[in-house]
């Protein structure tokens, strides 16, 4: 209705400006550096670089295929059996990898399938020779599937659960078997969700840094992101870093463009609560197949987590807890992650409410540029990975003095922005659904501003905000991207310390730290979930 004075839109503009400042500053740094040493940047475009680009795309494509394909089957299997013992537990477990820091997962995978891992004896016996370990492409793929298979399964399941119960009632009345039901009811739903989910996974894999850094194991399996890190931290070759960064951005932009053409939407739609349906008969053969599918997925996802636990418990945890460095890193991590999560949720909420307010104002006309920005702005940050932003600011600030001094600011802001797509995923459906129900009523009764937030929005947003906060905090706690660039002896987070211990072959220490980090992230997500649910009643 009255647009300019709407505080919801103002909040959105502020959030967009903050994100633009962060990303804009990075690009200023990159362009400044590039213009400074133009020939150097050109010279960096050699055959090696092209091989890196090819590998980046290849591993992302394979990871997407291996994650999304099986996830379709697993999600369908789970939706065919809406109630069985342990189903809730499996879904909980499938939510965990997203909360688990990449470096922890990488260690878990190494502990399981690595050269000295729990399975190495078995794998050597099967292969007939010494198990070479899982470094390289295979390690990267296993790790990416570990993260993205459960994520995609949950998203596909969500899509399947939006099928109204009436359709299933109708299907069983018409005597539809599993095959036609899949073709006519489930597949259209899955196909609609497919581009969005595959797109999300592909983007996550193309910008994956930690996994490739820790499991890539050499120049043969290096991606652009790791290349940027090496150029800045080891070779100190700014021109090369600029070339790599611009290539990375161009690549992700291109992919994103293709995906939007395909109709992908990286933020979810509202899912309505659906009554559990019981009028579904599943044949014995299909049941067995589904059990096998679910069990395989379960083992694959649970394995690295169990290995992390076992290896971590084998470490000298008492001594680790007594170390001043470990304590300091823990405190630093906790503080930075808390502030980062707070900022992330605030920015996400601002964008969500602004988008909704603009959409309500628009009615039937075309979307304004602002609404478009509020809608996809958060998805766009996927295009600009943390390393790129970090690299840009690194190059910009190295002339201004000590780049390592701004490490805390960089970690907080970059991680906050990176967590936004996930926070928005948690917040937007709830906000939009609540708005759908309450908008006219609020307008009629004059409930606006703070009163509206307190009485109407907060009760329906409490839980999604807690979920968003926990996710953002877990992501920030486990992030290695920005801190890898800016970390130093004076500012160390837990993942940074972990990497350092791995690098110096103190595997037991690393396993212990990984357990600590993993448990903290886990506890965080579970606590927020429980808190939100408890308050709802």
């Amino acid at each position: 209705m009255r647009l300019a004075s709407d505080p919801r839109v103002t909040a959105g503009i502020t959030a967009l400006a903050a994100v633009a400042l962060l990303i804009g500053g990075a690009f200023t740094g990159l362009l400044f550096e590039g213009a400074h040493d133009l020939s150097g940047a050109w010279a960096a475009l050699d055959p090696y670089l092209l091989r890196v680009v090819r590998f980046t795309l290849w591993q992302a494509a394979l990871s997407t295929l291996l994650s999304v394909g099986p996830a379709l089957l697993v999600a369908r299997a789970l939706s065919r059996h809406p109630r069985f013992f342990g189903r809730g537990f499996i879904l909980q477990l499938f939510a965990l990898p997203l909360a688990l820091p990449a470096i922890v997962a990488a260690l878990g995978i190494l502990a399981l399938y690595g050269r000295a891992g729990y399975f190495s004896g078995l794998l050597s016996a099967v292969g007939g020779q010494g198990w070479p370990g899982i470094y390289g492409l295979s390690g990267i793929l296993v790790a990416h599937v570990f993260f993205n298979l459960p994520l995609s399964s949950r998203l596909f399941l969500e899509a399947l659960q939006t099928i109204p119960a009436d359709q299933w009632r109708l299907a069983s009345q018409l005597g539809m078997g599993p095959r036609p039901a899949f073709r006519l009811i489930e597949w259209p739903m899955l196909r609609a969700a497919l581009p969005g989910i595959a797109g999300l996974v592909f983007m996550l894999c193309i910008t994956s840094f930690t996994i490739v850094l820790t499991l890539g194991g050499g120049p043969a399996a290096t991606t652009l992101e790791v290349g940027i890190y090496q150029a800045l931290r080891f070779d100190f070759d700014p021109a090369r870093a600029v070339a790599l960064t611009l290539l990375q951005v161009a690549l992700t932009c291109l992919v994103m463009l293709c995906l939007t053409r395909l109709g992908a939407n990286t933020t979810g739609d509202a899912n309505l609560p659906v009554a559990p349906r019981r009028y579904l008969s599943v044949g014995a053969g299909e049941t067995i197949l589904n059990i096998v599918l679910i069990a395989l997925a379960l083992l694959f996802v649970a394995g690295p987590m169990a290995a992390t636990l076992a290896a971590g418990l084998g470490a000298d945890l008492g001594r680790l807890a007594g170390e001043a460095t470990v304590r300091q890193a823990t405190l630093t991590s906790a503080g930075l992650a808390f502030v980062s999560a707070l900022l992330s949720v605030l920015l996400s909420l601002s964008l969500t409410i602004a988008r909704r307010a603009l959409a309500l104002n628009r009615r039937a006309g075309p979307r304004s540029l602002l609404e478009h920005a509020a809608d996809t702005g958060a998805g766009l940050v996927l295009v600009v990975p943390p390393i790129v932003i970090g690299a840009g600011w690194f190059l910009l600030l190295r002339h201004a003095g000590d780049v390592f001094a701004i490490a805390p600011i960089m970690v907080v802001t970059v991680n906050a922005v990176m967590a936004m797509p996930f926070a928005i995923r948690a917040i937007r459906p709830a906000y939009d659904a609540a708005s759908e129900r309450h908008e006219r009523l609020c307008a009629l009764l004059g409930i606006a501003g703070w009163a509206r937030f307190r009485l109407v929005d907060w009760p329906s947003l409490r839980r999604p905000l807690a979920t968003g906060f926990a996710f953002a905090m877990a992501l920030s706690l486990g992030d290695l991207g920005v801190i890898a660039l800016f970390g130093s002896d004076s500012v160390q987070t837990l993942p940074y310390l972990l990497l350092a211990r791995m690098g110096s072959y103190r595997t037991e220490d690393a396993a212990g730290l990984a357990l600590l980090l993993g448990l903290v992230c886990l506890a965080l997500v579970l606590a927020a979930d429980w808190l939100g649910r408890g308050e709802k009643a």
């Binding site: 009523l441 307008a443 009629l444 004059g446 409930i447 009163a451 009485l455």
Partner: protein
């Protein structure tokens, strides 16, 4: 003495749509019509004839592309929905699911729920008047469909605006329950004398409490008159077609009257 302390807005105000045109992009709507003060007017018409849109224009959820909306002679075109002298009851989603009956009603008095002792007394009276005494602390999900609409009506009472817009609020209720609700509306109308605009698909609803009828067809007012005239067969051909053959004849009229 009417229930509840009124804020001086006890009687109704005339509602006038002065050459109002509006469109969602396809079918244009055009309304030029008066609704008499303190009367209950049933707004009827086929689906898509613009009944709900007419109410939305009065309430301020839609803005006319041309023409004026006047309430009590005042052009309300620039006013926000909450600033207009109207209350509205929708078919559903009239309540905030997480707030109690008491709180939902209280929002009619203060949008930030800052309530004085007098306010609380009014709220209790309104809850009692609508037959909800003892259910103050319940949440909407613990109420039946009819009870939820009663809460909405209780809020209308504490809001005490001269115009009440009803957008098929009882459409999903059974016949007996619907009659109870209509009688409640008629009773409240008798006490407060507000102007009621009542969208309905049911001729018997219109006949039960409607004093006037406005019939919409193809996005414009096709006919307007008293309910008695309409149901005595003096309505336009389109109206007779809409309510069905024979609906206006004395026999079916007799049946409809028997229920009262």
């Amino acid at each position: 003495m009417p229930i509840g302390v009124t804020n001086g807005a006890a009687s109704g105000a005339e509602v006038r749509l002065d050459k109002v045109s509006f469109s969602y992009g396809e079918a244009p709507l055009f309304f030029d019509v008066d609704f008499a003060a303190s009367k209950i007017t049933a707004i009827m018409g086929p689906s898509g004839s613009g009944k709900s849109t007419l109410l939305n224009l009065v309430a301020g959820f839609e803005a006319p592309q041309a023409g004026r909306v006047l309430i009590g002679g005042v052009d309300v075109g620039a006013a926000l929905p909450s600033a207009r002298p109207v209350s509205m009851v929708f078919q559903e989603n009239n309540l905030f699911a997480h707030l109690s009956v008491e709180q939902n009603v209280g929002l009619g008095r203060s949008p930030s729920l800052r309530l004085t002792g007098d306010d609380r007394a009014d709220i209790s009276e309104a809850i009692a008047r609508t037959g909800l005494a003892g259910k103050e602390k319940r949440l909407p999900r613990e109420l039946s469909g009819g009870e939820r609409q009663r809460v909405a009506l209780a809020r209308v009472l504490v809001r005490d605006r001269p115009v009440l817009l009803l957008d098929e609020p009882f459409a999903s209720l059974g016949p007996a329950l619907r009659d109870d609700m209509l009688d409640l509306v008629a009773g409240v109308h008798g006490e407060r004398g507000m102007t009621v605009l009542f969208v309905t698909h049911q001729p018997q609803d219109a006949r039960r409490i409607g004093q006037n009828v406005v019939f919409l067809d193809k996005g414009a007012v096709a006919a307007a008159g008293t309910a008695d005239d309409f149901f005595a067969g003096a309505g336009p051909e389109a109206f007779r077609r809409y309510i069905g053959a024979g609906a206006g004849d004395p026999v079916s009229r007799d049946i409809a009257r028997k229920r009262t």
